[in-house]
Amino acid sequence: MHLVCPAGSPPALKAAIDHGADAVYLGFRDQTNARAFPGLNFTEADLDAGIGYAHARGRKVYVALNTYPGPSGLAGWEAAVDRAAQHGVDAIICADLGVLDYASRSHPQLPRHLSVQGSATTHAALRYYRERFGIARAVLPRVLSLQQVERLCEQDVVPVEVFAFGSLCIMVEGRCQLSSYVTGEGPNRHGACSPARYVRWDELPGGERSVRLNGRLIDRFSPDEPAGYPTVCKGRYRVGGEVFHALEEPTSLNTLELLPRLREIGVAAVKIEGRQRGAAYVATVTRTWRAALDRLETRAGAWHVDGAWQQELARLAEGRQTTLGPYHRSWH
């Protein structure tokens, strides 16, 4: 089972490779990828250096081109596919039918992975992408239970990659317009959820802080309360007379304890979320998962979750809480 780690920047790429990632995924510095944040991502020179560093150590580099261009924008995404191919990346990760179609015709030898943004949750949907575009792998949305992932693996349409650790998208990826509804910009078209320029923090009398997204109140925090990034899904709202995290609490997905099961059912790769995080974060998470995977390879029968691993991961988790998320039925 491969470990696929995020690289939002050249230092993060180096950290991931140094600490045992089998592959890193990254994006160009534009809206062709779903983490189009200022200060993140790779220039072409960065990409060349990153590929050189990874390939010299026998690791792979994937480029995410997983946003959805409009008709006039498509040529720009096609050019990004060409760039990725010319630089010799090991795979591209795409969601849009137009981008996949172009890649499969123009660069048939370049492996194509279906992005989580493609929202494929059944073997019928996976068959579509395999038959139409010859995808080599699919990243599953964070909505399926472990049993459902298992059923999908049994069908063996394409190898699957699942999210293992990091921020938890509560909605089906590729099917969430909450950011777009509030700001006009969202992950699908613009590659960013709740873009920073729409976020406004205000200090209130008494030390409280409020956070708004394009003027809409997402949450208020008391002085000693940790405050997370204001995506719409993680705000507190009033429903039926009560104020609570009506959609999702700020927690991180952590499936470490499911690792032996994921391997057993035939998951091809586990993915760490977090291209928006720094090199230190990537180093710690990668090192921890590498250790867990290595122990699984060598001592599968005696595998157990090491308390130190969980401590390391919990320290980095959003809201300092972790969940098995949708893999576990009770979360639903």
Partner: protein, 288 residues
Amino acid sequence: MRLALGPLQYFWPRDDVLAFYREAASWPLDVIYLGETVCSKRRELRGADWLALAAELAGSGIEVVLSSLALLEAESELASLRRLVDNGRFRVEANDMSAVQLLRERGLPFVGGPTLNIYNHVALRLLQEDGLERWVPGVEQGRAVIEDFRAHLATLPELEVIAWGRLPLAFSARCFTARALDVAKDDCGFRCIEHPDGLPLATREGEAFLNVNGIQVQSAARCDLAPELAELRAAGVALLRIYPERTGTGEVLARFRTAIDSGIAPPRAGEANGYWHGAAGMGCVNPS
């Protein structure tokens, strides 16, 4: 320009559903979309019931389309979808690539629903090859996007635009109604039946914001494109989609019908039209 009644997004008691659609047969509409698009656990009407209703409505001269789920997770849901696709009579609205695949394997024409991610002309052309004959663009896609499609594709399919209702914004594995009522999803007691127009969600300062509807999150604001009628016509939109609500849907349809027939756009009644104008969906351009 024709009027389409979109699929019922909420969960109503069986008798209420049947009464609603019997009344709908007398409304000034051309197309009705029937079936469950949100949650497979909502089974006040089974597949056979929907088909019987479809036959009844088709008998009164209405075009009937069978809508399918936007999110499929279980094998049983795929089996239901297969039965829907194999109904042998009515066209299907595909709301997920699972449905597209089953339809294309059988060579059946279909309607591309608003949750298929069709953002450019190549995606649309590929789906036309697969059998897409009518397209309901996603909620984000407004006038300029449709013009952009037209500039890049010689033959567009028939276009249907969401013109009235709370917008379907997001889908999840989690049931937000169950979460709000503090019950487990697997043991939800089908409590969304108590909320025939969903559960309103407001900000902490009391501003209406979203609407919780099972695993779906909707806008609280209703999209209303009746005042944009001339623009819709100029964009070549063939059908306007009206989403059902517990009350007032007949009046909404009558308002649109009058506007279409007279060519006079009515004053604004719903709160939002931002997406049509290329802005944030919750916004309202030219509010008066």
